[in-house]
Symmetry: C2
């Protein structure tokens, strides 16, 4: 049965299932969803269980859309909705999208717009014909999130056509009767950086991640025949937004790829933020960026977002599910179910197994999983990290001491993840009186990244999510946080002012506003510099951490100058987005089910091998440290 026949068949079955008198005008795949077009959206909304029952019977994800002609005009519709939704829902904005018959409603309390089991939503549709899509009014405005929403509205015709084609491709007839599953490691084999894997079956090819290798111009082996032609790849699946996983995803569109990217909503937003910044940094450093920002927009246009736990058909023979990875906002462990019970393979992406200040611990519970690709960043024999408590204790002590000395604490941090973690730790310490009250300055993209975090509170850990829902407890809104948005002048004021803490990017002092703070604060022995993350070889951060008392940094006039380091230098281990060795081993130990085979990747050669050997010895499973350009077959 080809797609057209299948859709006709589905329309007949739907017409049989639903009450008489509801007219179905069309049934179409749009991305992984089955969309039912009807001239009777109100009747459809009458029966609260109708769509759910249909979805269960047809085993499809179903969306009902009104035919354009049957919609109430936006202005009267707005009034109707205002009448239906209780006032304390706090609706702040409406966005009507006639092409899909949807109205995006921004509200401070989305639950009150949704109603019990979606009853309020159905009332809205019954009254107006529009399908409401409720989003939380973010407590902090994010220009990234706003731009993406605006851009997608503007491109909605093209996006709709893209979704239709993708839907048809996903549901195409299978043509091969051969059965095999294999994975080619295109990057991050025995190295950190340029994560990229190709999962292939006789029917389908999926690219997982496509990152850069920081500090080098090495890219994943996209030119390998396994990945070519790029046009014929079915889907790109992105585990998280870090550049070593995402930086070269937009490049694929420059090379002719035109298919979907599946990822979580926060990863889409963070990818947009980080890749645009990646292009800026390249330009500032006088390098030619591998693509321009138009390609980032292409990537956004082709992104289909999925929440954790949504089992989704992405090819005739492959179902994809994302699970929380505990690493950064939206980060996912990726699970592929292949064939009809044939095989299951997972990719950990980067994981943190223990719960952290920001996130729940990584998921290691699956219906089935035979093979896992596991990150090994801290897989080495000596990669034991202090506990979060010890790390926080050390940080608090050094802040107290510096404050007592009348100095300032400079903390280099990447905008996404570590900065938010520091904010939570500092806000709590200040609130509980463990450190004196003082300003915490945020310099760089930290505030924008924080805004994206608060736009997706359901991706944060349970405690943090609850606090963000209550504006007065939202730690990110605490008074101590002050954005630096006036450049050098403001930084000089900070230097000349009272004791303070400064979080500034980037986290390895390889550029960014942290450099100016360093220059200003380094000569004063009362100040402190606190490293809270890994300093890669060759960076200024690494040089200072190794004990140099003088470093050369780029000066504001483009040349370089020498900075004498007289401030105190501390290294605070124990904050990390990655699980340490024990955590990685526990992640496997406690997996349910335990996989038959583990491929250790995303770690230096020695660490991937050390972790492989530890897992083999502890659990007697087959372990492999694949090299780039190797292909292993599972069935």
């Amino acid at each position: 049965m080809n797609v057209d026949e299948e859709l006709e068949d589905l329309q007949e079955r739907i017409e049989d299932e639903i009450p008489g008198g509801i007219a179905i005008s069309d049934v179409e795949y749009e991305g992984p969803e089955l969309v039912i077009y009807t001239s009777d959206p109100k009747k459809f909304a009458d029966d609260g269980d109708l769509v759910r029952d249909l979805a269960r019977k047809l085993r499809k994800r179903i969306t009902v859309r009104p035919d354009p002609g049957v919609l109430t005009d936006p202005e009267p519709a707005k009034d109707e909705i205002d009448g239906i939704v209780p006032d304390d829902a706090g609706i702040t904005d409406y966005d009507f999208k006639p092409d899909v018959g949807e109205v995006v409603i921004k509200a401070e309390k989305p639950g009150l717009v949704i109603g019990k089991h979606g009853s309020t939503l159905r009332e809205i549709t019954k009254a107006t014909g529009w399908t409401p899509d409720v989003v939380r009014t973010p407590p902090i405005e994010s220009s990234t999130v706003d731009n993406i929403r605006r851009y997608l509205t503007q491109e909605s015709d093209e996006r709709k056509e893209f979704l239709r084609q993708t839907g048809r491709r996903i549901h195409r007839e299978e043509t091969s009767d051969d059965e095999w599953v294999r994975v080619t490691t295109l990057g991050c084999g025995r190295e950190v950086g340029r994560a990229a894997f190709l999962l292939s079956t006789p029917e389908t090819r999926i690219l997982i991640d496509c990152g850069d290798k920081p500090g080098t111009d090495e890219t994943p082996y996209l030119q390998a025949p396994e990945a070519n032609p790029l046009q014929s790849i079915d889907a790109v699946v992105l585990t998280h937004a870090h550049l070593d996983h995402s930086a070269l995803v937009p490049l694929l569109y420059k090379y002719g790829y035109d298919g979907p990217i599946y990822t979580t909503p926060p990863t889409r937003d963070l990818m947009s933020l980080l890749t645009v910044d990646y292009l800026d940094v390249a330009a500032k450093q006088g390098r030619t960026p591998p693509y321009d920002s138009e390609m980032v927009r292409e990537a956004i246009k082709h992104t289909i977002t999925l929440d954790y736990g949504e089992v989704t058909d992405i090819a005739p023979d492959i179902k994809l599910t994302f699970h929380n990875a505990g690493h950064i906002l939206g980060s996912a462990v990726v699970h592929f179910h292949i064939g009809d019970g044939l095989y299951n393979v997972g990719f950990s992406g980067d994981i943190h197994y223990d719960e952290t200040r920001l996130f729940n611990g990584a998921v290691n519970d699956f219906p089935r999983l035979e093979t896992l690709f596991l990150e090994s960043t801290y897989g080495g024999r000596n990669d034991q990290a202090p506990s979060q408590e010890e790390a926080e204790e050390k940080l608090i002590k050094l802040i107290r001491k510096t404050h007592d000395d009348g100095g300032k604490v400079l903390i280099p941090a990447f905008a996404v993840g570590r900065s938010q973690e520091m904010m939570i730790v500092l806000e709590e310490a200040m609130r509980k009186g463990r450190i004196p009250e003082m300003p915490v300055y945020l310099d760089g993209m930290i505030w924008e990244a924080t805004a994206i975090h608060t736009a997706h509170p359901e991706y944060l850990n349970d405690d943090l999510r609850d606090r963000i829902f209550h504006e007065d407890e939202n730690p990110f809104l605490a008074d101590c946080f002050q954005q630096v948005d006036e450049g050098t002048e403001q930084r000089q004021e900070i230097r000349d002012g009272e004791p303070a803490i400064i979080l500034a990017t980037n986290g390895m002092m390889a550029g960014g506003p942290v450099m100016e703070h360093l220059e200003m604060l380094a000569p004063d022995p009362e100040n402190s510099l606190a490293f809270v993350g890994y300093q890669a070889e060759g960076t200024t951060g690494a040089r200072i951490e190794s004990g140099r008392d003088e470093v050369r940094v780029p000066s504001s006039d483009g040349r370089s100058e020498t900075v004498k380091i007289k401030m105190n230098v501390y290294s605070v281990d124990g904050f990390s987005g990655h699980g340490d060795r024990d955590e990685l081993i526990s992640f496997v130990d406690e997996m349910n089910p335990r996989p038959e085979k583990i491929f250790t990747v995303h770690g230096d050669e020695g660490k991937t091998k050390a972790l492989a050997s530890a897992l083999y010895q502890n659990f007697n499973m087959r372990t492999i440290s694949p090299m780039n350009l190797e292909t292993h077959r599972f069935i």
Copy 2:
């Protein structure tokens, strides 16, 4: 430097090296050889060491060709040659090829045409301008060999253009500065049949073997992206002519491949014989052959033959050398040297390590070899074979007994290899009086295959080669051998005649003339059936060997009939083209140098794994039983 610049440069260097007054009109690559065109072929021939010295200095294989204008006409040239070459050289034929300025001289004693260190050859060139190419007048006419020679002469213009293009491709500039070496197993991973490997570097892709899987329609995974587009493969390298290695080589030309096949001269001839027969058998069995005989001719036209030990550039970064494999005529262990000392990888093809009646033992001595792909046909724990002596003893006994009973011995045998081995054994036994004198009938392609063996005596073991050079000792010319060429009538005469031995194809009784002999001889309890080779599951041979006293065979009218087996059935183990388990292990044990890694292939799953584990335990080397569609990287 591109190829044109390189050739200009070479021409200048050659002009500098050779004595003044010899005009070089052109220098061109033709396949792996550098061809020097000159209007002074006679002067070139003056200095016996000139070409050798040039070859050493330029590190190239060099051929000198006269410009067409300077050649003596064929008739007077023939007279000149007759005058130069001693009469007892026994010249039987001349074949002048004006396009390359070569004259092929067939002689019974080629050594006398060549002269000491090639002195007579040089005299011929000095006198006539023609470059002589001396071949032995084969003791038995082979239509295969004759047809190939005729066909290549007829296609010489096209072939010359092909060689020129191939030469330029081999010597193209390297474009990649990346360094890696990997091999994809496209067939014969954990199975016997459909041998095929793809060796790839950033610069080059080489396909090693492309066989069928007897009894199935499974082909190598040529559709894998690693192998595509087939047009971009640099070279096909063929280990030997057995169909599980060669059957689908001609198919590559149907699929658009247009490049060279490198193999030994006997393998080219046997491949032609066996693939044409493969098409015949398919047609007779009512199957659609995957290609037609035109594609076999294409394959022949694109074959570049290399003798054992000739180190040959086949790509900018790859040198190929064939070594004797001891398995069938022309069979080779293939050695690749990659980059400038970067890596060495070998493919055993099928091997016999001990010397046999026909061949020297397989070579396991290499300048360097880091990774070996090793056949595992008899790699299982219990794959111990009796010695050749025991096997011969058993065969002789059963022949004597059958003769004494007044019966006939039917020996099913494949035309290539086993038949010639039986001929040697039977001839010697009869000559030494160990079995009575009686006719040995040869039915099927045995005689033609034997002719190909005698056309390439230098590929046989030392003893057999020497005997073939002396006509009166050539065992294949013994009086006892009689070809069956009159079909059913003659077979009936044999049945009704005196005691005799019948060698008939095919070796597993899966068709061929052996079936008619079986039908005629089976009912008589005085006759014997002797299996001297492996009987694959599902064949009539296997059914009889397993003890059935009745089998159904196709009758001459196309239907099938039942044959009652009343003749004696014997299985004689110990004749095999494959080394047994001990031999495979000794092959590795005595390798020089011993490789770091061994991939066990070309064996049932259990045997590849058993051999891998034995080699790992004995020699503590890394061993892997790759699956089809897996790619392993070495550097």
